[in-house]
């Protein structure tokens, strides 16, 4: 089957409840494209993929993907995904999280995941606000952002997730623009094929809340795949998430080889070499 035919089967018939025009539709499209293209190459099957999502607008992608997985709890898609890797290291695991979920509620998980280095991909839908709960600020909201929770405007300076990820020793760090779904699909394929934990931050607009920070396409430019830490910090420093000044580098900002979870743990290595999970393992 060609990739387009496979793609049809990766979607579901569930009624889509994202707001009309939401960039989440494009992220969904890029995921389907990347997965379908990988399946069409014949090396991986649709049932080999397993996803985890947590709670938020982004997480509704769970219902729209015909892939195995767990629609987990707010902030917990990472440990749930880590669990999938521990249960069967042969699965291709994708975890979808929002900026609030990963950088706030689930920050402790983000802090440690690069250390464990499981073979999985974290996809962050970063729209710089909590949208499903009607627009409260997240750790990436810009100063001055007015919401019902902070009517006089956000007082805190946002974090820079790329710099955080570099500091945490994560081995694969990429950034994408939700609107450029062909590019996102290419980056996702690289992330899925990476041996270890891959972090993909996707910049997206929210059409309802935090509209002031929307429309950054003009600031964006593509970078070549990079393995140099200093250069990665330099790119990360070009935009501070706090406004619309600076340049936003897209692509694989940093990628180096690191020993993955299943290379460090004897038992998991055995499962991987036998191509089974614990269920198929004769213990």
């Amino acid at each position: 089957m060609d990739a387009n035919e496979i793609k049809q089967n990766i979607g579901t018939k569930e009624v889509n409840t994202w707001c009309p025009g939401c960039p989440n539709f494009l992220i969904l499209e890029s995921v389907k494209k990347a997965v379908a293209e990988m399946i069409s190459k014949g090396k991986v099957r649709q049932e080999d993929f397993a996803i985890t999502t947590d709670i938020g607008c982004h997480a509704k992608i769970f219902d729209y993907l015909n892939l195995s997985g767990i629609y987990g709890l707010h902030g917990r898609a990472l440990p749930t995904g880590l669990g999938l890797c521990l249960g069967n290291p042969n699965l291709k695991v994708l975890s979808f999280m929002g900026d609030g979920a990963i950088y706030s509620e689930g920050a402790g998980h983000f802090f440690n995941i690069g250390r464990f280095n499981p073979n999985m991909v974290l996809i962050v839908h970063d729209n710089q606000s909590f949208s499903l709960t009607t627009g409260q600020p997240t750790p990436t909201s810009q100063q001055g952002y007015k919401s019902k929770a902070e009517p006089i405007g956000e007082v805190d300076v946002p974090i820079n997730p790329i710099k955080v990820a570099l500091g945490l020793g994560i081995g694969f760090i990429a950034r994408c623009n939700a609107r450029d779904f062909n590019h996102t699909a290419e980056i996702l394929k690289k992330a899925i094929n990476y041996n270890g934990f891959a972090f993909v931050e996707i910049i997206q607009d929210c059409l309802i809340f935090n509209k002031d920070i929307n429309g950054k396409d003009k600031m964006m430019y593509k970078v070549e795949d990079n393995a140099d830490m200093k250069k990665a910090y330099k790119i990360a420093d070009e935009w501070d998430y706090n406004g619309k000044k600076g340049k936003i580098g897209l692509g694989v900002l940093y990628s180096v080889e690191k020993e993955s979870l299943d290379e460090k743990w004897h038992a998991l290595g055995k499962l991987k070499s036998e191509g089974v999970g614990w269920k198929g393992f004769d213990n």
């Binding site: 767990i70 669990g83 249960g87 999970g277 614990w278």
Partner: protein, 523 residues
């Protein structure tokens, strides 16, 4: 014949080594031992003590009056002299100070002599433990020669095994083919993690320490969903953190076993001591209404069976099973006839993963209310249908549990008085009743004991026993180690029967056998 020995000193001095060596020598000679460990939350210094109770019959408790005090520092004598019987003996460390790291071996030698055991038995034990044993043997001899024989522990037959609850839970899980144990360290649950971690190197299962209890429960569910047989473990506050995941289990129906070893709360409480104060939270932790099983074993052999039943039930029904223990059961060293243990292991149920898992097809689990495909739904009809299905599932679980020993009755069936208890108080209740009139060991007398193992579902036999004894004019006495009588409240909730006679101890220390006996005789 029963002898109580207290071994005290500073943390790090090796008091556990003394009780370990002496216990092994005694059980090797066919005697039963019970070792209670009392220690504060610190690593070096302070005051730790073990109380070792030795008997020619089954023993599962210690007594408040001591026959021997082994002191590794002055503080031990100061603190425990008052607990000595009139003709009690104190073995002082000072005499053996020059032996350095072999001080505890010398003290073991001294104890062996007092108990009337041959020095050769101790030397054999030392040689099996230490590669270079020459100095240790000299120390043992020196200790042995320093004392006079007082008791006569002649060699008996029988193979007695020593084990604490943590090891039993670990072995039970291994025998049930566990694949993954996930835990974040917290006393007194950590013992199971340590026991399993030490055994994982054959690659048949794995122990992993995630970054928090929240990560532990969510990763546990992820791994279980992917087809692994998973157990996670914690205590008090760590368990509280896990409860969001317990609720996720309820709606996603991913099999999960949680080992909950309680310690005195609220809050950080008294970390290294014991209390049965977490039955309530084991029964109810996690929002929403969903089925679960709560099993509370009372000794190591029961731990082996209970962990197996938890794993079996969770896998069969896609339900949450909680294995409820406490510090006293997890860390005290019990002894039993090895044949009983082997028999238990031979009867364990096979735990099979038969459900479809990722890799075998498209499988979805969800924290949202969902349709049969696992996709989100908020339809009123589905909400009602799924809630009904969860209740119906609990009905099936209840029926299955009736195949197991949900309660155990000890002593004469027609005894006048009934004691009801659960968990780690089991052994001290049995010892106390035997010390009153030998009801348990002889099957004749005025006392019987109903041990509740299944807290959820609760056995209907509890009502029958209470009513039978009440109608016969006898006393029904509830024994628990908590301040509100949590099992008593549960029984009242399920049966409407209020247990007015209660013996509750809540100073974070376990019952002494003689203390409980006195309390029981007040009724």
């Amino acid at each position: 014949m029963r002898v109580n020995i207290l071994i005290g000193g500073k943390a790090g001095q090796g008091i556990n080594k003394v009780s370990e060596i002496v216990s092994r020598v005694l059980t090797g000679s066919g005697y039963y031992t019970f070792n209670y460990r009392d220690y504060p939350s610190l690593i070096r210094g302070g005051h730790n003590f073990n109380v070792l109770s030795v008997s020619d019959a089954r023993v599962g408790s210690v007594e408040s009056k001591l026959d021997i005090v082994v002191a590794m520092d002055d503080k031990t004598v100061e603190l425990h002299k008052g607990e000595l019987k009139k003709d009690g003996i104190v073995i002082m460390f000072e005499e053996f100070k020059s032996l350095g790291r072999n001080l505890n071996i010398a003290l073991s030698g001294a104890l062996i002599k007092i108990l009337g055991i041959d020095l050769s038995v101790l030397i054999e034990e030392i040689k099996s433990q230490f590669k270079e044993s020459d100095e240790a043997v000299v120390a043992a001899e020196k200790g042995f020669e320093s004392q006079e024989k007082k008791f006569d522990f002649k060699k008996l037959g029988g193979e007695i095994e020593i084990m604490h609850g943590s090891k039993a839970v670990a072995l039970g899980a291994v025998e049930s083919d566990i694949d993954l144990y996930l835990a974040y360290p917290m006393t007194p649950a950590t013992g199971v993690m340590h026991e399993l971690a030490a055994r994982q190197y054959d690659g048949k299962f794995m122990v992993f320490q995630p970054e928090s209890e929240v990560a532990t429960v969510n990763a546990g569910l992820g791994a279980s969903f992917a087809g692994a047989k998973v157990m996670i473990g914690s205590s008090g506050g760590g368990y509280d953190l896990m409860t969001e995941g317990l609720s996720l289990q309820g709606i996603s129906e991913i099999p999960l076993v949680v080992y909950l070893a309680s310690r005195p709360g609220p809050g950080t409480g008294v970390p290294t001591y014991s209390l049965q104060n977490d039955l309530d939270v084991a029964l109810r932790g996690g929002h929403g209404e969903f089925p679960r099983v709560v099993i509370a074993p009372g000794d190591p052999i029961e731990c082996v069976g209970s962990v197996n039943e938890c794993m079996y039930l969770s896998e069969k029904f896609g339900c949450l099973s909680i294995l409820l223990s406490d510090k006293h059961l997890a860390e005290s060293e019990f002894s039993f006839d090895k044949k009983c243990y082997d028999k238990k292991v031979s009867k364990l149920l096979k735990v099979d993963v038969i459900r479809k898992i990722p890799g075998e097809g498209i499988v979805k689990a969800s924290s949202y209310e969902h349709d049969a495909d696992g996709n989100t739904s908020e339809s009123a009809e589905l909400c009602r249908k799924n809630a009904d299905a969860r209740v119906a599932k609990y009905g099936k679980i209840k029926k299955e549990c009736e195949k197991f020993e949900m309660v155990k009755l000890y002593g004469p069936k027609d005894a006048k008085n009934l004691v009801i208890g659960w968990g780690s108080t089991k052994s001290v209740i049995l010892d106390a009743l035997d010390s009153i009139d030998g009801s348990i060991k002889n099957g004749k007398g005025d006392w019987k004991f109903l041990q509740v193992l299944y807290m959820k579902p609760l056995s209907s036999k509890i009502r029958e026993e209470i009513e039978k004894v009440s109608e016969g004019g006898g006393n029904v006495i509830l024994v628990e180690q908590n301040v509100t009588g949590q099992l008593g409240r549960l029984i009242r909730e399920k049966t409407g029967l209020k247990l007015n006679n209660r013996i509750l101890k809540y100073d974070s220390r376990p019952f002494y056998c003689d203390e409980l006996k006195e309390e029981l005789l007040k009724f």
